[in-house]
Symmetry: C2
Subunit: 126 residues, 2 copies
DNA sequence: GCCAGGTACCTTGTGACGCATGGAACCGGG
DNA sequence: CCCGGTTCCATGCGTCACAAGGTACCTGGC
């Protein structure tokens, strides 16, 4: 997978970060398990090389807190947990995400490629 | 707006390009008008500095064709029209887009931030 | 005739982020 | 004692949206 080459990679931009927050909102996880959890969702298959820098940023920005815990087999695990600020960031993203995808959906539908997401009627073209 | 700084900018990555294709699928447009059309949609407000390199890429890749046309007032306009390959690219993107956003929606919903998009039930977690 | 302002085109440099690659440390089994 | 799985982390690269800046055309006021 060449870096930045395909469409799916671009789609992950900015989204992956908040998907991590979404996973952590359910329960704290460590990086390796996080990759597996994300892989369960279409288009969110990623690797450690992506996750670690991402988690570093989240930690630096105070959106997640970390605690070390011993593992039964292997080196100790660094668990990441959502902070209050992280929860707020996730909430804020959810709003932006909904607005954004609604806009794109409307546009695609006008072009004849849209899904019918039920009549939410949020066209908003002036 | 500092470059690459906020979330909305990241969301546009890879999407904006195909939104341009979607607009052109309705009718050929020139760059200036294109920016205005996109601005009608939430989260797709952009500028010429973004559109021109983008259109150059689309043209280089054969997804759009260009024709010059005189304007009643001002310099001549370069109209961009969708090619067959462009139409195919748009179709392919629409599929990826739907799959991807469905996945993210499910994830956000599990975290308590999701919209209810009606029961399409596409969880797909294994 | 000339200059201000709107229209329309394009280029260059910057920054962010996802990814490939690769390395280090810890553990259990053969 | 080495080998493979687990888990952590750092470095370098490529792509893309954006800001800033530049050129050319046309109209209207003075």
């Amino acid at each position: 997978m060449e870096p930045g080459g395909n469409v799916a990679t671009q789609l992950r931009r900015g989204v992956l970060e908040h998907c991590v927050l979404a996973v952590l909102a359910r329960s704290p996880e460590y990086a390796f398990e996080l990759v597996r959890r994300l892989s369960a969702f279409d288009g969110l298959v990623t690797s450690e090389g992506t996750i670690y820098p991402l988690l570093s940023r989240l930690s630096r920005d105070g959106l997640v807190a970390t605690t070390w815990q011993p593992s039964e087999a292997g080196p100790p695990r660094k668990y990441y947990d959502l902070t209050v600020a992280g929860r707020r960031a996730l909430d804020a993203f959810a709003v932006e995400w909904t607005t954004f995808t609604d806009g794109v959906d409307d546009l695609l539908q006008q072009a004849g490629n849209g899904r019918s997401r039920g009549a939410r009627g949020g066209r908003r073209e002036h």
